[in-house]
């Protein structure tokens, strides 16, 4: 119990500091949304009155406190430029980013599982080496580069998959999924390598355990041993990292969302940064941080539930 309380306290503290940090940073951005709003006929008086209206003339900390108070009650403000409600803007785009993240992880898993198992069971052999090399190649392709290459290959040359035809679920499940294949793949190409290596390392360790030896001695077929005895315990860490990556991917999908024109949270953020839409930047970054911290927290809890040693250490450490 004490463990949970400690962690919860930590979570809140981190959230508070993150939002403060963001607020201050965004406030320092040069360029003035008031000039954007004032447009061509930007006289000093007009700009000044716009700033007043938006509350930009008050001291930073005061504005932060006001913003925080509103944020906690669910009022995340309105976009300075378009008047859109920030919370609505974020929550309506979140499902797209979320779908991208989940699909990316699924693809990563789909690559990591089989390749990890093969590597582990044939450790040191040719297959293992080949997979390792492939993993390195894959890892070294940054997501923006991967995105460009995938678009060139699959869209421009082969015309198989759409480059930027995002379709919402209302247009049909397949249409929707189709628009995520290339973007998810761009991200997955890096992510899967991490998962595979962890799986491989753990599985190698597990395969050396005594009970595996016993199973072999009993004459159980190899595939049975792998899938029914060795795999489950090996999945532990991989799943942990999978969870962590999901939390972190929200921020990492910025470029991919932009390149593939997916109406997600990342793209919203990039646009907001370029147009200095203060409220949106603040809302989105805080939201991303919240998701990341929450996911971490949940994974932590899960781990503690499963591994009593951790709980004990926290209680006594």
């Amino acid at each position: 119990m004490r463990f949970i309380i400690l962690r919860l306290r930590r979570l809140l503290l981190v959230m508070f500091l993150v939002s403060l940090l963001t607020f201050v940073l965004v406030n320092w951005l040069p360029g003035d949304v008031a000039y954007q709003k004032a447009g061509m006929e930007a006289s000093k008086e007009l700009v000044q009155s716009i700033r007043q209206e938006l509350g930009l003339d008050q001291p930073v900390l005061l504005r932060f406190v006001k913003w925080l108070g509103a944020f906690v009650t669910g009022d995340w403000g309105r976009s300075f430029l378009t008047g859109e409600d920030v919370r609505e803007a974020i929550l309506s785009r979140f499902p797209v980013s979320f779908e991208l993240m989940i699909l990316a992880q699924l693809i990563a898993l789909g690559l990591a599982l089989p390749l990890g198992i093969i590597s582990a069971t044939r450790a040191g052999g040719l297959a293992d080496r080949a997979i390792a090399v492939f993993a390195f190649f894959s890892l070294s392709i940054p997501s923006f580069m991967g995105a460009i290459l995938l678009i060139t290959f699959f869209s421009l040359l082969l015309g198989l998959l759409p480059a930027t035809d995002y379709q919402p679920l209302s247009a049909g499940l397949w249409a929707n999924l189709r628009s995520f294949i290339l973007p998810a793949l761009s991200i997955a190409l890096v992510e899967w390598t991490v998962l595979m290596r962890v799986l491989r390392a753990e599985m190698i360790g597990v395969l050396q355990e005594v009970y595996i030896l016993v199973a072999r001695a009993k004459g159980l077929p190899r595939w049975r041993i792998i899938f029914f005895h060795a795999l489950r315990p090996s999945l532990f860490t991989m799943i942990t990292i999978l969870g962590l990556q999901v939390g972190g991917l929200l921020g990492g999908s910025l470029i991919v969302e932009s390149i593939f024109a997916l109406p997600g949270v990342g793209r919203l953020l990039i646009q907001a940064i370029y147009s200095r839409d203060f409220m949106i930047i603040q809302g989105v970054v805080t939201f991303i941080a919240l998701v990341y911290v929450l996911v971490n927290f949940l994974v932590d809890m899960l781990y503690a539930v499963l591994d009593p040693r951790i709980r004990m250490e926290a209680d006594h450490g």
């Binding site: 040069p30 360029g31 003035d32 949304v33 000039y35 954007q36 709003k37 004032a38 447009g39 061509m40 006929e41 930007a42 006289s43 000093k44 007009l46 009155s49 716009i50 209206e53 430029l81 378009t82 008047g83 859109e84 609505e88 803007a89 309506s92 785009r93 678009i151 869209s155 421009l156 015309g159 759409p162 480059a163 930027t164 035809d165 995002y166 919402p168 932009s258 390149i259 593939f260 024109a261 109406p263 997600g264 793209r267 919203l268 646009q271 370029y274 147009s275 200095r276």
Partner: protein, 507 residues
């Protein structure tokens, strides 16, 4: 026997076929129904003119589908068509512009469309307490009024041709919204107009969906059931979408797309040259650009042809003035002449270095590099500085720059912009060049009551500008709209590359 029967059948079939063709809505005439998907290059900013201003091309295009305008300047036929305004007239002294409004029109929310709706709309913009960006340009308007339900008039302080010209276009002051939507403050994100299509939904970052308005006064000429506007800033994505059939209509300014589309049997290319264009401005209060010789040298060092070729692949016109392709103005444009530039600089006698300000996107970077090259070739040291859009904006408007690029927007009535750019009292005079001669000329230009007078005076203005070399022209505006072959009757508006899809159809 059989042959006879077949023959009779054939004749009968042909007759029936001919009969069918005479019916309205027959096979190859306008086909009703279907959804048109348009790829916009940006998300609309919103639909309340008091919040957004006149709006950019994307905003105006969508607004045009939802709202109706007083008049419409049809560029293919070169005619001014009545829309909401069944007729219009000027008074003798040209100080009053009167419109007769059609009867029986309604907004999408049921509010009757009367002259009072127009008065409400315009008063909102003209309200001195309103902080919108259009009002400063509307100085010559004394007021608006509605003597009766179907008569609307502008009262002007003096003849002002520009207003009339711009009303035939597609900016947000032409698109008339429902007073109810304006009052409740929802017009910005839930536009209500009286146009051919009704607003259905706006998914932030993704698309806007419109559906046909069966109560439109001209509904029989509206053929589509639905229009979807998707926001796709990446041009390659748009082009790919058009090629694959996901999109029916897109804009593009990328040379390679235009070239390919022109020879592609599946696509149609629509184009229009506009007014205005990109300009390069010099801050005449900052040395060494306070010296006219230096400015003239820079104007001669600039190579518009090369810029056109490299940055725009010749898809934009060479311009010597901002009045568009139909103007015959001889504007005293300073031609590309490096020898003369060097001579002028030699006369000046001192080494010249300056910072050039640009936006931090690919166009901006390319222009920055070229400017550095052009001026470097005549011995001027240039240091390009690049910033994001909003910082760039601010620097220009506060005079925190020496040399930069800017633009004259495409509007049929271009006088208000030019006045704002060059009048000594204007806070938008970004070159900060003050000349009583120009001010006097501007007064005449603004109040000119015929097109000929207006054109002549405008030309004189640009002559002065080129003589003083306070700015020079980069390239003109030329818009390209690509559609799939089966999309018909997409019309390009008079300015800004806005398209009118009200009467379009798909085969």
């Amino acid at each position: 026997m059989k042959t006879k029967k077949l023959g009779a059948l054939a004749v009968a079939a042909t007759l029936a076929f001919c009969l069918l063709l005479t019916l309205p809505g027959a096979a190859w005439a306008q086909k009703r129904g279907g959804t048109l998907t348009v790829g916009l290059e940006s998300e609309p900013q919103g639909f309340d003119a008091a919040v957004v201003g006149t709006g950019d091309g994307s905003t105006q295009t969508v607004a045009l589908a939802i709202h109706d305008t007083l008049l419409w300047r049809d560029t293919t036929q070169g005619k001014l068509l009545p829309m909401v305004a069944a007729s219009h007239a000027f008074t003798e002294d040209k100080k009053k512009l009167i419109f007769k409004i059609r009867e029986g029109m309604k907004f999408h929310d049921g509010t009757p469309f009367t002259a009072h709706a127009l008065v409400f709309f315009w008063n909102r913009i003209l309200d001195p307490n309103s902080k919108n960006t259009i009002r400063p340009f509307m100085g010559p308007i004394q007021g608006v009024s509605a003597p009766d339900d179907h008569t609307f008039q502008f009262e002007l302080k003096h003849p002002w041709l520009a207003l009339f010209k711009n009303l035939g276009g597609a900016n947000l002051t032409s698109a008339i919204p429902s007073p109810k939507a304006l009052e409740s403050g929802t017009q910005q994100r839930h536009p209500v107009g009286a146009g051919p299509f009704r607003f259905k939904s706006w998914t932030g970052g993704d698309r806007i969906v419109l559906e046909r308005n069966p109560d439109y006064w001209d509904a029989e000429h509206v053929y589509l059931d639905q229009v979807v506007f998707r926001f796709l800033p990446d041009e390659q994505a748009r082009y790919a979408g058009l090629k694959s059939g996901e999109l029916d209509v897109i804009w593009t300014d990328r040379g390679i797309s235009i070239e390919k589309a022109k020879s592609d049997p599946e696509l149609t290319v629509l184009e229009k040259e506009g007014l205005g264009g990109t300009i390069y401005i010099m801050n005449t209060t900052k040395p060494p650009l306070d010296n006219p010789q230096v400015r003239q040298a820079l104007a001669h060092a600039f190579n518009q042809e090369a810029l056109r070729k490299v940055v725009y692949r010749n898809t934009r016109p060479f311009i010597r003035h901002p009045f568009g392709p139909e103007s015959t103005c001889d504007s005293h444009y300073r031609e590309h002449d490096p020898t003369r530039a060097r001579a002028l600089l030699a006369e000046y006698g001192q080494p010249v270095t300056l910072e050039s300000l640009h936006t931090n996107n690919s166009r901006g970077q390319e222009s920055a590099a070229l400017i550095q090259q052009f001026f470097g070739d005549v011995g001027v040291q240039v240091k390009p500085v690049l910033f994001d859009q909003t910082t760039y904006f601010k620097k220009i408007l506060t005079g925190d720059f020496v040399f930069s690029g800017w633009r004259i927007g495409d509007m049929a009535g271009i006088e208000p912009q030019l006045s704002a750019l060059t009048h000594s009292q204007s806070s938008y005079n970004i070159t900060r060049y003050k000349s009583p001669e120009i001010d006097k000329l501007l007064t005449e230009y603004r109040t000119a009551d015929t097109e000929e007078k207006s054109d002549a005076l405008g030309c004189q203005l640009i002559q002065r500008v080129n003589d003083a070399a306070t700015m020079f022209f980069g390239t003109g505006n030329h818009y390209y709209v690509l559609t799939r072959k089966n999309v018909k009757n997409v019309q390009i508006a008079i300015s800004n590359g806005v398209i009118r899809i009200a009467e379009a159809w798909k085969e």
